[in-house]
């Protein structure tokens, strides 16, 4: 049982300290950034990423370094990654807004259209996955514990009490279960990406010879629909769809 608790505490938090070498790269990146060597900072932070570290602070610093070195598309991509991991990261949201003002592409919604991300997607995405997971599991385990306790209880009064205690617990379990499964669905099935190349041709088909619909520019956030060979079918916020090279879009 002690082992189980230890696992419960440690695994979701990824509490194991990172490798000293990776920590050193991170510090080097920070120092390079402060010295104004933004490309050096990018290089150092990239090494941390390649070491398998996934952390909003890491993404945030890398995004800052990209922005300072003039690579706005990559900056937007990593701010979005930081926000995807921690939706309440105000710093990343604030800097992202500043960078977005400098972007070339403004998606114009056609009159009366509402093909952007649905409201419920926005809402569910704003919920922290870790918090949602543990809240759901907490109510889930509690609900079954009460069910088991009720079966073991001999006195009718205790059984009745446990029944009524469990009614709201089971309701909350269902509500959080629904929210949790929706969040997992969005996490696993609804993918977004950011155009990272400075200018990208949006084509009608997954071939270089396909007619060009329009040109999009770095930093544009798009919905990723599916992959065909080395092309991605993407959808803009106004519903326009087309194909771009996979390497030109960073998956959030």
């Amino acid at each position: 049982m002690r082992t189980l608790w230890l696992l419960l505490v440690l695994i979701p938090s990824g509490a194991a300290a990172i490798d000293a070498g990776l920590a050193g790269h991170f510090e080097n990146g920070n120092q390079a950034y402060l010295d104004g060597d933004y490309l050096g900072a990018v290089e150092a932070y990239r090494k941390v990423l390649e070491g398998g570290v996934q952390h909003p602070d890491m993404y945030f610093n890398l995004a800052n370094a990209y922005y300072r070195s003039g690579q706005r598309g990559l900056a937007v991509w990593f701010y979005e990654k930081a926000l995807s991991m921690n939706p309440s990261d105000d710093g990343a949201a604030s800097n992202l807004e500043i960078v977005k003002k400098e972007l070339i592409d403004r998606v114009v919604m056609s009159e009366g259209s509402a093909v952007g991300e649905p409201m419920w997607h926005e809402f569910i995405r704003s919920l922290k996955l870790g918090w949602l997971t543990w809240t759901f599991l907490g109510f889930y385990v509690l609900a079954f514990a009460i069910l088991i306790g009720r079966r073991l209880a001999r006195a009718d009064s205790v059984r009745r009490l446990l029944f009524w205690v469990n009614v709201p617990i089971i309701t909350l379990t269902l509500v959080f279960g629904l929210l949790f499964s929706s969040r997992v669905y969005i996490q696993e099935r609804v993918h977004h990406g950011v155009v990272v190349s400075s200018t990208v041709s949006l084509r009608e088909g997954p071939e270089r010879t396909a007619r060009e619909l329009m040109q999009v520019h770095e930093g544009l956030k798009v919905r990723l629909l599916n992959e065909v060979d080395d092309y991605l079918r993407i959808r803009l916020a106004n519903g326009v769809e087309g194909f771009v090279k996979t390497s030109q879009v960073g998956r959030i």
């Binding site: 979701p12 991170f26 610093n61 500043i98």
Partner: protein
């Protein structure tokens, strides 16, 4: 009928004076003299604003006339009064088909009804019944529905209700309903607004089915909302018409010269009487020609761009006057006024070498109501300062041609200054205002996170195998409890089979106990336990208690369940042997006890084998 009613209703709803309260209640006959055996019609007509309020309707006494049939019709009637007011009424006609049975005068009595608490009666009617005369036969009309008229079978004149109404049908002439387009003004300059208004004039109840505009390729068109136009009464050539604006467009000519505006087609549905089906007709306006003059060349400002025709005002706003290097500012220019706002070109920004200027974002707002097109067009420029210091944004000019004044006009914004700090002082700048030092705090770019453990985030927990474990354990435990409870409940049932199973388990335990007693040299207890184990074994085989039963009875039962005689004999022998051992324990040696134990054990195995083979069968 429903089409007709909806058509009338469309017009009636526009009527501000709908709902007059006066009631009309009349009775009439279609002839004053009728031949004996011929048919005549008596019609009682109610014309009120609310038929639901009609109570206690009593039809007149027919004075001995035979009632052959009765028909009721309801409809709406729409009318204008000479004072310009409009009214509608609901009509219910009750028509009786009558046939006299004797010669002479017949008096048809009064009909009565109560409407809104007031009693109404009709006047009595007197008709003469005369000898019928032979008449030439007429070809019978078929009812439009294809079913024979209920009145046609005994109608000597070949008339029917449909004939009756058909005779009263009024042809709606071309002048009873027509459509007209008003084009104003018809002499304009390029880009100036021309309003085209389509109005329907009608003397009958009518509804608009469709409006089809001609091609307006040489214009930029903006649809206008006509919902606010009321139905009015107008006199045309001495006739009173209902007048309704049904559509309006603002058109802006794109070239100079004479341009035709083709006919607008309006498809209408109407009927001359409440009792006839709706008729549709396509009405057309007359083609109109407008004269478009070119914009004057003299006094044309340099900043004028084609399309900027109307009356406008230019405003400029800057979202921040102090920023750091590379931090963008939003410079918003807004053109507001009357004219073709959607075609207004953005004012030319002066050359700004110390800024990176992005293409503007454009937002257009146009009011839908009103004859004149009004609105605003906003151009949002993103400027990124490329140098620090006080950067100047010169004034912006916007020129337009005002057709009302007949001259070009130019609007100018104020010049602006943006204080740009070096990037080291991100977000915080010092400035001076009215000689006093102030701190200007602008939106800041958040710095890097210098210290971070870079832990606490990893792959989501739901991807970890432990998540599945946590998910499965609670319901697994619960299910296990349910299964255990179920098994225990089943085991607790006292059936023959369960008794046999329990006896077998008990026998095995006793056999084990006997072995321990043998090891301890307790012969008396050993034999007692060994006998009990054997009898339990027998019980597990026959399903009945073997204790306290005589050996003969036991043998009989064993044979009944199909046990072999050899086994029965062996059981008997060993039972007696155990009894002997119990009552003469001193004679029992250890090797004898072991031998007895071995035989009983073998016998129990034999019993078990027989039980299993029987179950298998």
């Amino acid at each position: 009928m429903s089409r007709y009613l909806s058509g009338l209703l469309a017009v009636v709803l526009l009527s501000p004076a709908a709902g007059a309260e006066e009631a009309s209640f009349t009775a009439s006959v279609d002839r004053a003299a009728v031949g004996l055996g011929e048919q005549m019609r008596l019609t009682v007509s109610i014309s009120v604003s609310d038929l639901d309020q009609v109570k206690q309707l009593k039809l007149p006494d027919t004075g001995g006339l035979q009632v052959l049939d009765r028909r009721e019709e309801e409809a709406l009637s729409f009318s204008f009064s000479s004072g310009g007011g409009q009214s509608y009424k609901k009509i219910r006609n009750v028509t009786l088909l009558l046939r006299p049975r004797k010669l002479g005068k017949v008096k048809i009595g009064r009909a009565s009804m109560v409407y809104k608490g007031k009693r109404y009666t009709t006047d009595p009617i007197t008709i003469r019944v005369v000898q019928s005369r032979p008449r030439p036969k007429r070809s019978r009309r078929r009812a439009p529905s294809g079913f024979p008229s209920p009145f046609s079978s005994n109608d000597p004149f070949g008339s029917s209700f449909d004939d009756f109404f058909e005779r009263r049908r009024v042809e709606v002439g071309q002048d009873a309903i027509f459509v007209k387009a008003f084009v104003s003004p018809d002499v304009v300059v390029e880009g100036q607004q021309v309003s085209v208004t389509v109005a329907v004039y009608s003397r009958v109840g009518a509804r608009i089915i469709a409006i089809r505009w001609p091609k307006l390729d040489e214009f930029f068109t903006v649809a206008r909302d006509t919902a606010g136009f009321k139905t009015k009464q107008k006199v045309v050539a001495g006739e009173v018409y209902m007048h309704k604006v049904v559509d309006q467009k603002a058109v802006f000519p794109l070239r100079a010269g004479e341009i035709d505006i083709g006919s607008v087609e309006v498809e209408v549905g109407f009927s001359s009487s409440p009792f006839f089906p709706e008729e549709t007709r396509t009405l057309r306006t007359r083609k109109t020609r407008i004269k478009v003059m070119a914009l004057p060349r003299e006094d044309r400002p340099e900043s004028f761009q084609k399309g900027n025709v109307g009356s406008y005002r230019l405003t400029a706003t800057l979202d921040a006057n102090a920023v750091s290097l590379n931090q963008p500012v939003t410079y918003t220019l807004q053109v507001q006024g009357t004219g073709n706002i959607q075609r207004v070109r953005p004012p030319d920004l002066p050359d700004l070498p110390r800024f990176k200027v992005f293409d503007p974002g454009v937002d257009v707002q146009v009011a839908k109501k009103g004859r004149e097109v009004k609105g605003s067009k906003t151009f949002e420029y993103i400027l990124v300062p490329l140098a620090s210091g006080d950067l100047r944004l010169p004034a912006v000019e916007f020129s337009y041609y005002d057709p009302e004044e007949g001259e070009y006009r130019t609007q100018r914004t104020e010049a602006e200054t943006i204080k740009v700090a070096a990037s080291g002082a991100v977000g915080v700048m010092n400035g001076t205002a009215a000689g006093r030092e102030v701190n200007i705090l602008a939106g800041a770019f958040k710095p890097i996170r210098y210290r971070s453990s870079l832990t606490g985030y990893g792959p989501p927990f739901y991807r970890h195998s432990l998540f599945l474990t946590v998910l499965v354990i609670p319901p697994g435990l619960f299910l296990l409890m349910l299964v255990v409870a179920l098994v225990r409940a089943r085991l607790g049932v006292d059936t023959r089979r369960s008794r046999m199973r329990k006896a077998w388990v008990r026998g095995r335990q006793r056999l084990k106990q006997a072995w321990q007693l043998a090891q301890g040299g307790q012969a008396e207890d050993f034999y007692a336990e060994l006998k009990a184990a054997l009898l339990d074994g027998v019980e597990s085989r026959i399903g009945l208690a073997a204790q306290g039963v005589t050996m003969d009875e036991l043998r009989t039962r064993m044979e009944q369940v199909g046990m072999s005689a050899a086994v029965s004999d062996a059981v008997r022998t060993e039972t007696e042997n155990c009894d002997f051992g119990r009552f003469a324990p001193s004679t029992s040696r250890g090797d004898q006890m072991q031998a007895s134990y071995g035989r009983v054990r073998k016998l129990m195995h034999q019993l078990e084998r027989e039980r299993l083979s029987k179950e298998a069968r």
